[in-house]
């Protein structure tokens, strides 16, 4: 009973010498319907829904909760200036997670916002990033453990942090040491998207210069923010991501109040000298941030977290618990 299959399995592995016939669409004399798999996939994922976990990090009063509410156009985050919010400056950074289910056009998403009150608020902010690092690693650990179970769930619940928005105060100068330290440490384990908060205090020129200096600081300190250059898969993506990289960090303004401008209702902040329209690209870059995060790169953020950050964690974790340092666990 010979088994030719082993020989042929290798043929199936992608690589040179592979018995593959490339049959293009023009050769197919008739429509098969392979495209329909896209629709199948779409309907399956729509039925199942998505999960997205976003973490906001920054000092108090930078408008984190407001921004998240503006991004997702709903009250997903409790703001610290609401009347019944207990104002207590905690001694350590305590992370708070809140989950909501939002639905749009049949697509359900479970959005989890992880807030970090107390970050950077103390006089001595030594190691204030540690609880955050611990939290991120804990989520990876949970996922890894579930994945290694014998009887594992059909769908492993994903609580890993897909995106971390880091709020930079609009000082106009450069990155502060706490910013550098935090981004250095977390840039390795999670995708960081830095934003300039409350950017309505900067003029356009000041904003440009500030951004230049920040980008320079990031390069000088070896910090990689999302979208990372190394993970660009094809030239198209690289062009797209390059244009994004030219404009990070985004200068944003958040609000949940609407005002009338030229007969339209727009989200904006009303001041004595004018109304700052949040979704107007000429005023602030909120729309760019929203498009990046939600409309174009949402799936990519999740993929980078799953394929790169999680795998890095897994390799590190598996290497440190065992004596065998081979690259494959041989069960034979």
């Amino acid at each position: 009973m010979e088994l030719e299959a082993e020989v042929n399995v290798e043929l199936c592995q992608s690589g040179p010498g592979l018995q593959m016939s490339l049959i293009r669409g023009t050769d197919l004399f008739g429509y098969i319907g392979i495209e329909a798999v896209l629709d199948q996939m779409r309907s399956k994922t729509m039925k199942a829904g998505f999960e997205f976990n976003i973490m906001v990090v920054g000092q108090s009063g930078l408008g984190k909760s407001t921004l998240v509410n503006t991004l997702f156009k709903s009250k997903v985050s409790r703001k610290s200036c609401t009347p019944n919010y207990e104002e207590k400056i905690s001694k350590t950074v305590k992370l708070q997670t809140v989950s909501h289910v939002i639905e749009e056009n049949g697509v359900k998403m479970k959005l989890t916002v992880i807030d970090t009150p107390g970050f950077g608020d103390q006089i001595n902010n030594d190691n204030c990033w540690e609880p955050i690092v611990k939290y991120v690693n804990e989520q990876y650990e949970k996922y890894l453990r579930e994945e290694l179970h014998i009887n594992r769930k059909r769908v492993i619940p994903d609580s890993r942090v897909h995106c971390c928005i880091y709020f930079l105060p609009a000082t106009g100068h450069r990155l502060r040491p706490i910013d550098v330290e935090f981004m250095k440490r977390l840039g390795k384990i999670v995708s960081i998207v830095p934003v300039i908060a409350k950017a309505d205090t900067l003029t356009i020129e000041e904003r440009q210069e500030f951004k230049e200096r920040i980008r320079q600081d990031l390069v000088d300190n070896g910090i990689h923010v999302y979208p990372q250059k190394e993970y660009d898969e094809d030239p198209e993506e690289r062009i797209l991501n390059n244009s994004i990289r030219e404009s990070i960090p985004f200068a944003v303004v958040g609000t949940d109040k609407e005002h009338q401008v030229n007969g339209n209702k727009v989200l904006g902040r009303k001041t004595n000298w004018g109304i700052i329209e949040v979704e107007n690209v000429a005023h602030c870059e909120f729309a760019n941030l929203r498009d990046l995060l939600i409309r174009s790169h949402l799936q990519d953020l999740k993929d980078v977290t799953h394929n790169i950050h999680y795998e890095t964690y897994r390799v590190r974790r598996l290497n440190e618990t065992k004596i065998i340092k081979s690259s494959s666990v041989n069960f034979k």
């Binding site: 042929n8 399995v9 199936c12 309907s43 769908v155 409309r295 949402l298 598996l318």
Partner: protein, 429 residues
Amino acid sequence: MASTEIARQAGEGARAVPLAGHVGFDSMPDQLVNKSVNHGFCFNILCVGETGLGKSTLMDTLFNTKFEGEPTQHNQPGVTLKSNTYELQESNVRLKLTVVNTVGFGDQINKEDSYKSIVEFIDAQFEAYLQEELKIKRTLHSYHDTRIHACLYFIAPTGHSLKSLDLVTMKKLDSKVNIIPIIAKSDAISKSELAKFKIKITSELVSNGVQIYQFPTDDESVAEINSTMNSHLPFAVVGSTEEVKIGNKMVKARQYPWGTVQVENENHCDFVKLREMLIRVNMEDLREQTHTRHYELYRRCKLEEMGFKDTDPDSKPFSLQETYEAKRNEFMGELQKKEEEMRQMFVQRVKEKEAELKEAEKELHEKFDRLKKLHQDEKKKLEEKKKSLDDELNMFKQKKTAAELLQNQAQQAGGSTTLKRDKERKNFF
């Protein structure tokens, strides 16, 4: 893969929140789909059936191309599996299609082991994926998935019932792969016979507990069509790559003197239904079932077989690794013990043998000594005898000389008188 992003909504303290405007995450499915398109899809079909049932032709017809290969002979000694990979592209969707054919199935005289090579092949694909998944440095998202997503089981168009080979094989395969039974070369059966045949087949499958793939009916958009199709199983198909002019169109058909069987005519055969179900409606579901049901089952069995168990949550993590370590050490320890045992046994045997040989040697020495002694004794005796004889001889010689002396004296003393005595003496001598 899509399955990693699926979440169970509601519950776990998440409440629904209304949106005040258009956020834009309804583009998520599109983003996901675009990524998958860039990546390409994999689909692996296994065709099981006796030689000559038209498996290769059906594949050609299904995917509208001419795959390579010539018809196989009937004299194969055993069942082998041959797989071929093709890259098809339709508009912007790239599909890596692998078709695995069973060569020599049902040709042997003794068919008891026919299913074994098929089961081994399917398990080998699962094993390869499991190995990749358990690696430390792994590349799962660019891994070429070779697991079988669908198994088309070709039933010979006898018109009576399933052969026992078919039943046995399907029973062995139903927990490992999605089986879709089809009646091959169904232009050999008339319509009424076909209906009876189908009923017989389904009832036989049910009574033998064979679980064939049921098209999913939980998704409203496809539930209706899937449930009607479920009632048409097994599909009666005809395959053909030749085109015949019917009316003013060229259609795929088989031409007979008594008429033409059109492949894509639903009244003639169920080919269109098969194509709809396999490709256009359920390809993704087949892949998902393979991954979440069959692969997980294989993984669970394999890991349990190795002796791993899920320990309770608050024990140390990576019980997999540690159990493996412990097992390995145990195994090595046992191995060493066994080696020691064997060595000792060997040494003992050697000692025994040595003792035996020494004994034998000693005996031989003794024997030799004895013989030597015997020999010496005899020699002595002989020498003594010789000596005594010599003595006698000497004595005789002395006597003789003494006698001669006396004779001489006597002769000198008296001549003739002694003559008489001499004569007497001479007569005496």
